[in-house]
Symmetry: C2
Subunit: 291 residues, 2 copies
């Protein structure tokens, strides 16, 4: 089991690191689109286990639209217009008319309405279907789409996304080995019986060490990087537990079996779903205004 | 029944019209906050009828945050900065850091995570609770919040919101009387047995007449107003049927009993939930770029 896990990681990690560091934001968005769709469909699988059938195709379409709009915002933000003193009229247009991720949510509402009215499904499924579709879009696809924003933060972007990935990977790895060797006190016995306080604390320290390691790689003071690693770690651990709660709600052990030794893809990226947007907000609110 | 209905309308309509035409966007937002909370709680009531218990307090908080952010966007758009050639740095800040409705959705995700991890509710409720909360926020509260944007569209704003309200009111009234007198062919027998094609067509014509009536009131060509009335009417009728689908999914006849003769508040504003954002998008995409 552990060997399968390591082997999968050894194959995937260099690929992901290369994509993030040397791929354009557009290419990263495409890669993310695949991960988002796989995650969303695993989430829908959890819903189906308790009889909640999502509007799968439509929700997936809106998830892709969100990714596209996040990418478009990034391009306009930092690309063609970034260094040009664009005229008053254009900046007005940007603020007023430029489509954003939130517009995709209204497109979603329109589609759900049309599907509900024209579907041949039993009417009794309306509320559960709307629920599992809306929650998949809001709790899985939307937070993941922040990876596009993060990658698109100018020259720092790729490194910031890598930072979010590495703090989560380090957290997982340290938690695994610390928990196995010295872990005794259960951390969240109902949600995830194998997790221990020792592992959780180890995971936190692991993320902080990544913060130190990135000090010469990201243009921000060490204290801010440590803060970013700390909030990213807490968000990641919370995301991990949240997905355990989904699975227990659905009465399922693994959300999927895509990656050998890692369970499903949702199992693998649950921590990133929350860690990535938290790192983005930390960067935007704490680091960027001072730089 | 019909007298109760008329009496309630006679009391409420002048109040709403006065508020929309002479109230500031802030005051309209406060009024809308009450309507949004009542609607959201009725929606949660439908969920509870099938055992889906929402995170009520948290979702309501995020609904208010969405309204606040929509109002804030409106103020910055058209208020202090509207007529000033604000400097490059500021317009950059507006595009990059200014909080939008979409940020409230991530705040929602964080809160749902925290509640899920710290709640004492059975874990099996996680997916249904996330579903009914997310769908309430996305399908009820978020579309309604577009009323703030619409009202905040400069000098035309209050008239545009009134336009959206009146096309829906006229649609309902004409549909009711036409359907009662000459209605024969069922329109959506499964969803709403009393609706007829005659009523639906009458409702469409009623909305178009409102478009004509507003020609000297809103600064846009008649053809565009007719188009706005047409799409608003279709969206309104769809919103009406969507709420019928929710109720049938929950096995409930009326979503509430707040307004004498009108059923619940969700029954009363179901058409507006879709008509208001559709009118807003029509205005922004079709009318405003040419004005």
């Amino acid at each position: 089991m552990i060997w399968k896990r390591v082997a999968t990681a050894v194959v995937l990690i260099p690929f992901v690191v290369g994509l993030v560091l040397w791929g354009s934001t557009g290419v990263v968005t495409l890669g993310l689109a695949i991960v988002t769709l796989l995650s969303l469909f695993e989430y829908f699988g959890l819903g189906e286990a308790i009889g909640h059938r999502a509007y799968k195709f439509w929700t997936a379409t809106c998830a892709l639209l969100i990714l596209y709009l996040q990418w478009l915002t990034t391009v306009v933000r930092w690309g063609e217009f970034g260094s040009i003193a664009y005229p008053q009229k254009l900046s007005w247009l940007l603020v007023h008319f430029f489509p954003r991720a939130e517009d995709a949510f209204f497109v979603f509402v329109i589609g759900v309405t049309a599907i509900t009215l024209f579907t041949k499904r039993p009417l009794v499924e309306t509320l559960p279907a709307a629920g599992i579709s809306a929650s998949g879009l809001l709790l899985v696809a939307f937070p993941l789409s922040y990876a596009v924003r993060l990658h698109g933060q100018g020259t720092q972007g790729p490194r910031l996304l890598l930072f979010a990935l590495v703090i989560v990977w380090a957290a997982d790895t340290v938690a695994y080995f610390v928990g196995r060797t010295i872990g005794k006190h259960p951390f969240a016995p109902k949600l995830s019986p194998k997790k221990t306080w020792e592992g959780a604390i180890g995971s936190f320290i692991g993320s902080l060490l990544v913060g130190v390691a990135f000090a010469h790689f990201i243009n921000a003071p060490l204290l801010q990087l440590l803060g970013m690693a700390a909030v990213g770690n807490v968000a990641g651990q919370a995301g991990d537990l949240l997905e355990s709660a989904y699975k227990r709600s659905a009465g399922i052990k693994d959300s999927g079996n895509l990656l050998p030794g890692h369970g499903g893809i949702l199992d693998r990226i649950d921590a990133l779903i929350l860690a990535i947007p938290v790192v983005w907000y930390y960067w935007i609110l704490v680091c960027a205004p001072r730089s």
